[in-house]
Assembly symmetry: C2
Homo-oligomer: 155 residues x 2
DNA sequence: GCCAAACTTGCAGTTCGCTTCAAGTATCCA
DNA sequence: TGGATACTTGAAGCGAACTGCAAGTTTGGC
């Protein structure tokens, strides 16, 4: 009840927390849409805010923009996800998060054992898996690369 | 007892699991060193393998190359970390991993509550923290950005 | 109608951690 | 000595997710 039902770029930026440049970028990449005034300026539906919240959430969970784009593409335009949409998605995300947590905990455990055993050589240290000397396992489950993480602040 | 005590680029690459190009890059960035033959080719001390194992481990823990460089710079050249070096470092790493795990678990818990409460609107969903409508907390601890993760394979 | 503020576009630039390339040089073994 | 193989350099490129800039246009309040 506070006026117009379309939003300008700066309004969406302010309310979503995304920079205007990011909004244009997401539009180019097909993640969001905007209509245009006769003069060519963007005007957003209020629903774009939900979409942006979804994008932020998915990105927090570790999805790439491309993955997010695909996931959004399966939801009819601008629609709020139905219960089954959301169930499917959240189960997927839950699994991703579980994997990440498990990988980090495994790494942490290895580090602990390094500390515990006083292993300073780093040769057999599980936290680096150099493949040096020790015979390579046939198809090592391996540590896989870990996060580049939490050091950026939001907004 | 298997010959020379210096290593060529390709030997170090093979034994460390890093590509030769990565070794050159690390050298440019001041993370490792090599002496040169009269003809200008690189020859590595065996100790570089430990250093590379350290680099891999640190990178798995989520440090940037710059942070790794700084940490290595505090260890006298090529020296194996002493017990107290390693203690200091491993405590730091452990803390980082703990933070990462905690952040992920918090996110996962939020997701669970989203599923549980059937909150489909994404407006108050903790997993995206849009800042929309709801008053921003003064200095939100916030979700901070999460991993870009585990999808690359090693080697 | 005026004018400042907000908007438009395209393109270049940024950061991180490398990889690839081309053209030339060194090393090692027979 | 010849030649295969390994090495050298600098520069450019990559991919992800944006940001910044310049030059021009639109909007909207007075």
């Amino acid at each position: 009840m506070d006026g117009t039902d379309v939003l300008t770029v700066s309004q969406v930026a302010a309310r979503s927390g995304f920079a205007a440049s990011a909004l244009r970028y997401y539009e180019r990449e097909g993640l969001i849409e905007a209509s245009r005034t006769t003069g060519g300026q963007r005007r957003y539906q209020r629903s774009v805010l939900r979409r942006l919240a979804f994008i932020r959430a998915a990105s927090n969970v570790g999805l790439t923009l491309e993955e997010i784009r695909l996931e959004l593409a399966e939801l009819p335009r601008g629609r709020t996800p139905t219960k089954s949409d959301w169930h499917r998605i959240s189960v997927d995300w839950r699994g991703r998060l579980d994997e990440q947590v498990a990988a980090l905990q495994a790494l942490r455990d290895k580090l602990d054992s390094c500390i515990g055993c006083g292993c300073l050589s780093l040769k057999q240290c599980g936290i680096s898996n150099p493949g040096d000397e020790a015979a390579d396992s046939d198809d090592a489950p391996g540590a896989a690369y870990l996060p580049r993480l939490l050091r950026r602040q939001m907004r």
